[in-house]
């Protein structure tokens, strides 16, 4: 059956709106890349839109030579990789017992954990706790307070609960202990969820900003988020004070260097994201099912 005229108009409308939505997500990124790779004259005259004009990598050279971005990148990577390892370990160790019916006090523990999601002491008490533990200026202040995300833990718990109990019984009869059951059966069966959670934790650590701002005072330990934010902030002030004079003589505007920094920060995300995309949609769905 051929679609009627009205139906065709409807479908064209649907495709057009979606195309616009997709482009709106894509184009700002393209624009940023173009700004960071164009010449100063083109950027300053506002001619750069989607394609770089007089392409050059000067902004990136300036970024690497003139700012501590490389060290910040290492810091970010270090925080992220170690953070994923810690968080995943403890999330698994928290989620697994809560699924066992013979674990005494299960409801009480669940409530205690969920309560922290609903009600926190607030910013200042958290800060004072971290300070009195002498974790200021160490990365432990980033890893410990958010070691286990309650939401992620609940997602994992739900997915472990969905493993048929026959598998449990069968492996017990074959003489499988708790650890072996967890490592050999539960974890392999939860792979998609684990991948999703690792992605969420990783994104969280990579993007972590506020905790770094609060707990890390040593500029040598800043991660990329804080460094780039400070660059942007100082540039906003600069343009507020009217930066006509000095930056005109340079081959670059601070804006272009910032754009380059944003691109560098987005890059790892763009690499990892397509690999994990097929998992996370599934993982989010599991969270949507009531536990």
């Amino acid at each position: 059956m051929k679609p009627s005229l009205g139906e065709r108009i409807y479908l064209i409308g649907v495709y057009m709106v979606l195309t616009v939505a997709a482009l709106m997500c894509l184009l700002p990124l393209v624009h940023i890349v173009s700004v960071s790779t164009s010449s100063l004259q083109a950027v300053a005259s506002g001619r750069v839109t989607l394609f770089p004009i007089d392409a050059s990598l000067e902004a990136y050279r300036q970024l690497i030579d003139g700012t501590p971005i490389v060290r910040a990148m290492w810091n970010s990577a270090y925080i992220t990789v170690a953070g994923i390892l810690f968080s995943m370990t403890f999330t698994v160790l928290a989620a697994y017992p809560l699924t066992r019916s013979y674990f005494i006090g299960r409801r009480m523990y669940t409530f205690a954990i969920v309560f922290t999601m609903l009600f926190g002491g607030g910013l200042i008490p958290t800060y004072m706790t971290i300070r009195s533990l002498e974790l200021i200026n160490t990365y432990w202040s980033l890893w410990l307070p958010g070691l286990v995300s309650v939401f992620n833990m609940l997602v994992l718990r739900t997915s472990i609960e969905n493993i048929p109990s026959e598998i449990d019984e069968a492996s017990r009869i074959d003489g499988c202990g708790e650890w072996r059951y967890l490592l050999r059966i539960v974890l392999p069966l939860s792979m998609p969820v684990l991948a999703t959670l690792a992605l969420f934790y990783g994104v969280g650590y990579w993007n972590s900003f506020f905790n770094v701002l609060m707990f890390i005072n040593d500029p040598a330990k800043f991660n990329m988020a804080v460094l780039v934010q400070q660059m942007i902030q100082s540039q906003t002030m600069l343009s507020q004070l009217n930066a006509l004079g000095s930056s005109e003589q340079l081959q670059l505007s601070p804006e272009m260097v910032n754009a380059a920094a944003v691109v560098v920060m987005v890059l790892p995300m763009l690499v990892v994201y397509p690999l994990l995309q097929k998992y996370f949609v599934k993982g989010v769905m599991i969270g949507a099912v009531k536990g």
Partner: protein, 268 residues
Amino acid sequence: MYGAIIAFKKYNFTDGILHSPWVGLDNFKLLFSTPTTIQIIRNTLALSLLSIVAGFPFPILLAVLLNEVRRMWFKKIVQTLVYLPHFFSWVIVSGIVVTIFSQQNGVVSGLWESLTGRSYPFLYREGSWLAIFVGSGIWKEAGFSAIIYLAALTSIEPSLYEASSMDGASRWKQLWHVTLPGIRTTIALMFILSMGRVMEVGFDQVYMLQNSTVSDISEVISTYIYKIGLMGAQFSLTTAIGLFESLVGLILVLGANAIARKYGNGLW
């Protein structure tokens, strides 16, 4: 949690948490009698309500439209692109926003200038700042929030579509009479739950987008606590604000969940 008791004390460093003198509810009285704090509480509510209400229809629209698409490759590409901004930090988003809207050589300002002949400081006027604030939030989260509606859409019985097309319903009519009623409970649930989070405006978003010229409307509880509390060492007063925020938040979440439970779909 333990540190929260300083909300009821006059904290100073030398005496420590336990030995600072008790002042009862004085901090809370001060909190509700100073115009600044009233203003930031108002700002918090205004910004988050605006974000929630303005941003709410977009994920639904996206999910419904994506559901209509039969070409899988197209759907895949659109989904990939609209989910992407969710994974960017606010640093990245604010970097993009500043580049695009900057008065001197931002691309939007350039466009505006060529249309009206004057430049306009988008980031430094309250109205346009508000629009940028809400818009950037929608840009970042709309796609990802659509996932939950997409999940709800898959649970609609396909036979309903068949039956309605037998009866001569157009695609447009099907959308109104089958698709939207099918996800009505999910929509209601999501709305209630988002109302429960009214007290939270993300620190990152506000902190990075705000500037001194728009601080009258952009200072919210979390940024105020950070600036006055941590930078200005006003520990007791700001803990009181934080505690107030948490308490209201808790009541809202519990209330929202109680309502959601009536729809048979509580959070726990």
